[in-house]
C-alpha cells in the first residue's frame, strides 16, 4: 500500500534544526555524568547526608516525645482524649503515655496541684532523665485558678518546677493541648546541644 503523499506535511527548516539538536544531544549523552560527590567514593556517596548535629538531634527529640502519664484532676480527661484515636497524638510520635518517669521526657501536668501533692510532683520531675520538658495544662496548674487563694492549692506550678509551655483553658480542649505540643516542638528545634 502506498502512503498518501499529502498526509505527511513537508519538513520545514525549524523542524529540521530541532531534530538535529536532539540527535546531537543524544549522541553526546551516551554515558551518565559523574555525581558531584564522586570524590567521596562509591560506598560513602550512597550513605552520607550532610547536615548539622543540632538539626538532627532536635528533629529526633521533637518528633519522639514520650509523655508522662500524669493527671492530677479533671484536665486529665482532656489529656486522655488527646491520646485517643479522634485526636491521635501518634501523628506527632507520641504514641504511648509512659507510667515511669525514667522513660518519659515530657511531663503534662494536668490539674489542680495541692501542697500535699507538690513534693511528689517535684520528685517525679527530678526522676525524669534529661532532656525533659514540662507543659502546664489548665488554669489550676498555671496559676491556681479559682483556688488560688486557697489554703491547700499551689498558686502556679512554676513555683515547684520550671515550665516550658502554658496551655490555658478550664479545661483546654484536646486541640488546645495539641497546639501547645506543636509550640513545644518549635521550642525544641531551636535548642542547641552546644549551649545545653
Amino acid at each position: 500500500m502506498e502512503i498518501d503523499k499529502y498526509s505527511i506535511a513537508p519538513a520545514n527548516e525549524l523542524d529540521v534544526a530541532e531534530g538535529l539538536r536532539i540527535n546531537s544531544l543524544m549522541a553526546a549523552s551516551a554515558h551518565p555524568i559523574p555525581d558531584p560527590d564522586s570524590w567521596i567514593g562509591e560506598e560513602l556517596s550512597r550513605n552520607v547526608l550532610v547536615t548539622t548535629v543540632d538539626y538532627v538531634v532536635d528533629w529526633a527529640r521533637s518528633r519522639s516525645l514520650f509523655p508522662l502519664m500524669f493527671g492530677l484532676a479533671c484536665c486529665a480527661f482532656e489529656m486522655i482524649g488527646m491520646a485517643t484515636s479522634r485526636f491521635d497524638i501518634s501523628r506527632f510520635g507520641m504514641d504511648i503515655f509512659r507510667w515511669s518517669p525514667r522513660q518519659a521526657d515530657l511531663m503534662i501536668v494536668a490539674g489542680t496541684l495541692t501542697w500535699k501533692m507538690a513534693p511528689a510532683v517535684k520528685l517525679v520531675y527530678e526522676q525524669m532523665a534529661e532532656p525533659k520538658w514540662v507543659i502546664a495544662m489548665g488554669q489550676c496548674t498555671i496559676s491556681g485558678g479559682p483556688f488560688r487563694e486557697s489554703y491547700s492549692v499551689v498558686p502556679g506550678i512554676n513555683r515547684i518546677i520550671p515550665v516550658d509551655v502554658y496551655v490555658p483553658g478550664c479545661p483546654p480542649r484536646p486541640e488546645g493541648l495539641i497546639h501547645g505540643i506543636t509550640k513545644l516542638h518549635q521550642k525544641i528545634v531551636k535548642e542547641s546541644i552546644s549551649k545545653a
Binding site: 501542697w115 500535699k116 489554703y151 491547700s152
Partner: protein, 146 residues
C-alpha cells in the same frame, strides 16, 4: 427508697432510755448533748426496731456560736435513715466522744473533721490530720480561719 425517720418520734424513744439527752428535735434531725451521745448511739444501733448499723456521713458545721457535729445514720435492714446531731460550745477545745467503737467508718471521717474543723474526738485511736499535712497551722473550714 430509704425512709427518713421523723426526728421527733425518735427523740421520744431516746428520752425514755436516757432522759435529758435530747436538746432539740424536729422532723429532720435529733440534737443530743455531747455527754449522752455515746449512750444514744449505742441505743440507736442495738435496738432491733431501729438497728442503725451504718454511719454514712460524719461532718461538722460552724455556727460561730457553737459547732454542730452531724451524723447520718442508715439501717440496712429496715432501710431507714436518721440525722443525729450534737453541739459543742467551747471554741477553743470542742470535745465530742468518738464513735469509732460503735461504727468503724467513723475512723477516717472523724480524722477529717478534726483536720478541717478542729473538733477533738475523745477516745479516737489515731486522731491526727487526714487530708492536710502535719505541721499545718489552723483548721481551715472554721469561720474564723484567716
Amino acid at each position: 427508697m430509704t425512709t427518713a425517720l421523723n426526728g421527733e418520734q425518735v427523740a421520744r424513744r431516746i428520752n425514755k432510755v436516757s432522759p435529758g439527752a435530747v436538746v432539740a428535735s424536729d422532723k429532720a434531725a435529733v440534737v443530743v448533748t455531747s455527754e449522752s451521745l455515746f449512750k444514744v448511739a449505742e441505743f440507736l444501733k442495738n435496738t432491733p426496731a431501729l438497728d442503725f448499723d451504718y454511719l454514712t456521713d460524719l461532718t461538722a458545721v460552724d455556727y460561730t456560736d457553737y459547732f454542730e457535729v452531724v451524723y447520718h445514720l442508715i439501717s440496712l435492714k429496715h432501710n431507714h435513715s436518721l440525722v443525729l446531731k450534737t453541739r459543742c460550745h467551747d471554741r477553743d477545745k470542742p470535745v465530742v466522744p468518738s464513735m469509732t467503737g460503735i461504727w468503724r467508718s467513723a475512723d477516717f471521717q472523724e480524722r477529717e473533721t478534726y483536720d478541717l474543723m478542729g473538733i477533738v474526738f475523745d477516745g479516737h485511736p489515731n486522731l491526727k490530720r487526714l487530708l492536710l499535712w502535719e505541721g499545718f497551722v489552723g483548721h481551715p473550714l472554721r469561720r474564723d480561719y484567716l
